[in-house]
Amino acid sequence: MTPLFATRNLTHSYGDVKALEDVTLDVPRGRIGLVGANGAGKTTLIRNLLGMLQPAGGQMEVLGRPVSRESLDIRSLVGFMPEGNCLPLDQTAADFVGYAAELAGLPTDAARRRSSEILFLVGLHEERFRFLGDFSTGMFQRVKLAQAIVHDPQVAFLDEPASGLDPEGRDHMLELIRRLGDFGISVVFSSHILSDIEETCDWVVMLDGGKAIRSGPIGDLGIIEGLIVEVLGDPEPAARWMTERGATVKVTGAQLDVRTTGEDAFTLVRDALVATNVGVRRLGQSAVTLEETFIREAEEEDRRD
């Protein structure tokens, strides 16, 4: 299957500011998280992939088609949910979403039918004939998602879809995004809230300062399983024992935070405690979050620079 998108040395500048710098990526279809702090280049990358911005250098392909030559064809097959306001307040949800489908080339009758179906899908069927100016922020976000998928795209680019939502609205939006993947629509979901990506996506692209610092399956992104062990007595001998065997151990009082990359953490801790004759008071599992991984990768990137 052709990859979702691929870039080679993609560079984009706003005047003297480099928003993207030599970004090279190969991203498969699926639910893709695009993470990075504000200003990391997420929106610029999406707009370049849609052909809405012209890069200063490099090549891009979306769905196996070169963006430089086939951007209009690509746009028929993708949907885009912008981060900011993009809804006309004097139209009803049904009219606008239907119009968005017509803009993607669907005939009028099909556009109206799809509008009704998609507004049902995003939970706005009852409100579809209300004017958008009367909608709440959560409803706004759902209409924005609806217009992005009404024409049945192969991939939907969602730029910060959960921004401005309350916890309930956020959960609902993340659930909708998960379901899009189940329907066979790939999703590129940009966010600076890493827990949202962790919950939703199966592949992560990390951007920092316009550079791609990591791209891979979420399970392989160095997310290390670890254990928190509270011991009776001196923790130092056990910590030394485990460090000598390749583990990363952080000692805080009587507590050991043990991280392993290859070896099973439970086995290592058990052997360490037996070897150093130390009793255990408490044992619990810990995992390095995507956020910690992102910070680590960003720091490593800074050191390399």
């Binding site: 809405m52 912008p82 306001n85 139209q91 803009l103 993607a104 669907l106 024409h151 066979g184």
Partner: protein, 301 residues
């Protein structure tokens, strides 16, 4: 045996993929044009959005009815001199409808462009198979079709009614007035370009529909006054070119030229310019307006 009602309910209709045809760029442009009609006419909008366009359309249709009734009455009582010399015909009727058309274009042009730009909807348009130039061209076509319909439909009704009421008979009137068939469309086009180009410049720069409409009308009136100043008061070499600032008068001049009528007392003619100069001025302002809009929207997108 008890009859229990079914307990199953449909909680999710699932998702159906679309397998029909996609019309691409042409379909997208068609959608923008149709949306332009709805937006300007206030269709599928709240009631208050319909008031202004439909008031102006009603004014046009009522004026046709009144004028045609006057012609009918004059023909019935046999005052043919009055019909020939005093009552307005197609050229003179433009005098009235061009004023109404000025109001129409004052609100229609910003209505087509400003909300998309200020409410961020451009981002949705440009993520579809549509280039910036396609978007602007489609908006221009919306405005052009509406404006030409606004000017030509009353003129067509008027022309047909004049034929019906003519003492010489319908066919004879139509044959005698064949020139009207090109004069009315050509004049309507001149009014559209003359007014819409200035309205486009204003709508490209001003972020509110109401302000843009007011500023457009203000510019048209103020620049007429400025042109008068250059013709009547200013006394330096080249001051006569100031007459070309009378943007509102250019289409009137072109209309008189097209209808072969003696040109009325316009600043441009008093400054010594021929009607073709007014036509060139309209073309120049149109080119300027399109260039400005293209540059602004290119940066926005």
């Amino acid at each position: 045996m008890t009859n229990r009602p079914p307990e199953a309910v449909i909680v999710d209709r699932g998702y159906r993929h679309y397998e029909g045809n996609r019309k691409g760029r042409r379909g997208a442009m068609g959608a923008v044009i149709r949306d332009g009609f709805r937006r300007v006419l206030g269709l599928r909008r709240k009631g208050r959005r319909k008031i202004l366009p439909w008031t102006l359309i009603t004014m046009m249709l009522v004026s046709v009815a009144v004028l045609s009734a006057l012609h009918y009455a004059a023909n019935q009582i046999g005052v043919t001199d009055l019909v020939a010399d005093e009552l307005p015909h197609n050229r003179e009727y433009f005098e009235f409808i061009s004023r109404v058309a000025l109001l129409f274009i004052a609100f229609a042009t910003p209505e087509l462009l400003v909300p998309d730009r200020e409410q961020g909807v451009l981002a949705v348009y440009l993520s579809r198979p549509l280039r910036t130039i396609d978007y602007l061209a489609a908006k221009g076509m919306s405005l052009g079709i509406l404006m030409l319909a606004f000017l030509m439909i009353p003129q067509t009704i008027f022309h047909l009614l004049l034929g019906v009421f003519s003492p010489d008979g319908f066919t004879s009137y139509m044959v005698d007035n064949l020139d009207v068939l090109w004069q009315v469309p050509a004049t309507s086009l001149a009014y559209f370009l003359g007014f819409a180009s200035v309205a486009l410049i204003v709508a490209t720069l001003i972020p509110r529909v109401g302000f843009a409409a007011g500023i457009f009308l203000g510019v048209m009136i103020m620049f007429n006054g400025l042109a008068e100043f250059f013709v009547e008061v200013a006394d330096f070499s080249g001051s006569e070119y100031g007459a070309l600032l009378a943007f509102e008068e250019h289409p009137h001049l072109v209309r008189d030229w097209i209808f072969g009528a003696s040109t009325s007392d316009y600043a441009v003619t008093r400054a010594g310019f021929e009607p073709w100069v007014a036509l060139m001025a309209i073309v120049a302002i149109s080119v300027l307006a399109v260039t400005l809009a293209w540059n602004r929207y290119r940066k926005l997108s």
